[in-house]
């Protein structure tokens, strides 16, 4: 085995470094070379990926905390605080729901408990058929299948028309509170224009129609999984 002399190694490295340095003396010639261009582009890509990796590491924790805060705020709106004494966010349940009304492959269920007993659940779902794609809803339902609250979390509806489903724009969405499949017949789960119980907005029927249909679907989903959800233990 050849044991390289440390001094020779150092000299070799110095010579190579000098060679590399000299190439950068004439930048105009260097820029023309194909191998330099290849290496330069590769170095740029590497540096960019490295910067993004570091950026992700730094911001990841903060972003997750902010998103958890958002979720907690929305949950607080659809689950009255008096109903639970557990940390609703801590142990979400996942229910496989491919092809069901929530529009998701797996639905994340947040379970509210008081004294160990399930009092209500909340889940996110997609309401299909909005004017600009699906709307994401958060639905809070109590033990008996009665709606505690509905909120639209995200949507791309027309500002000034369809965005009245937001609580900051109008109180329309509060009209669902207290409704259930029991106290509102199937005919009622429509906008007034279609012979149902819920107002449409002036100039925008598609958005409320999608939300009403979505909420009804959410309740049907809850009924189907009721036993499973209410029997849920930690």
């Amino acid at each position: 085995m050849i044991v390289p002399n440390r001094e020779t190694l150092r000299q070799f490295a110095a010579v190579q470094w000098q060679k590399l340095r000299r190439q950068f003396d004439d930048l105009d010639a260097l820029r023309q070379r194909l191998d330099y261009q290849t290496y330069f582009l590769a170095a740029c890509a590497l540096a960019a990926s490295l910067a993004l990796g570091v950026g992700d590491l730094i911001t990841k924790g903060a972003i997750e905390r902010r998103q958890a805060e958002d979720l907690r705020a929305t949950l607080g709106q659809v689950l009255p605080e008096a109903l639970y004494d557990n940390d609703v966010l801590a142990n979400p349940q996942w229910i496989p729901s491919r092809g069901e009304e929530t529009g998701l492959d797996r639905t994340e269920i947040f379970v509210a408990r008081k004294g160990g007993e399930v009092t209500a659940v909340a889940f996110r779902m997609l309401a299909q058929g909005g004017y600009a794609g699906a709307l994401t809803l958060m639905l809070g339902v109590d033990r008996d299948g009665k709606i505690l609250g509905v909120r639209v979390i995200s949507h791309a509806e027309t500002p000034g028309l369809g965005d009245k489903v937001e609580t900051s724009k109008s109180g329309w969405i509060l009209g669902f509170d207290g409704r259930s499949l029991g106290n509102t017949p199937a005919q009622g789960w429509r906008v007034k224009k279609d012979g149902g119980d819920f107002d449409q907005f002036a100039g925008a029927t598609i958005t409320p129609r999608a939300v009403v249909k979505g909420v009804e679907g959410g309740l049907k989903f809850f009924e189907r999984h009721r036993q499973e959800l209410l029997g849920a233990t930690d």
Partner: protein, 229 residues
Amino acid sequence: MSESLSKIAKEGLWSNNIVFSQSIALCPLLAVTGTTANGLGMGLATTAVLMVCNLLISYARRLIPPEIRIPVFVALIAMVVTLVDMAMNAWLHELHKVLGLFIPLIVTNCAILGRAEAYASRKPPVYALFDGLMMGLGFTLALVVLGAAREVTGSGTLFANASLLLGQGFAWLETTVVPEYRGFLLMALPPGGFLMLGFILAGKRMLDKRLARVPAGAAALERPLAENL
């Protein structure tokens, strides 16, 4: 470098303004100017991206071979925009919720690639940085002016939700210009943005014309004097 900083400032803010003169970057412009606060936020984010990109490209300008400059610029811009997106999501979360959809779109803002190509790749870093600042502020100006015009005509308010962007200290900015306003939907929609932009461009042209007339007269008066000297 004979170019003076005041000339760069004048070009960025007025005579070569990204929106008013170059008429580019209209997609983000029309998308976010429904309210003044959104416009301001988008403008500041774009300014930050523009400054960082200009600075980096200017430093590396002698190393970048012209044959591969476009992919290098694009990689750099995409990197900076993604970093800004992540940083805003982490530390300016409320604003990110409002602008989130539009931040990644800064990548496609041709003004940034345009400045990299036309200015930063030819000038030293200090000038490129200053150019980025001024072009960004010019863009912010356009966004704020258009946002204010659309917000006042569309919903009768000014700087609504500004406290989300600037913090509670700026809640006083939020004013209702026209009380009991019923709202004029067209102005909140993209066509309203186009209309309003047209009016603003026409106004700028008129102002430019009026300004040009005065110095021309003054110059004519001074010429004989200069010849005498």
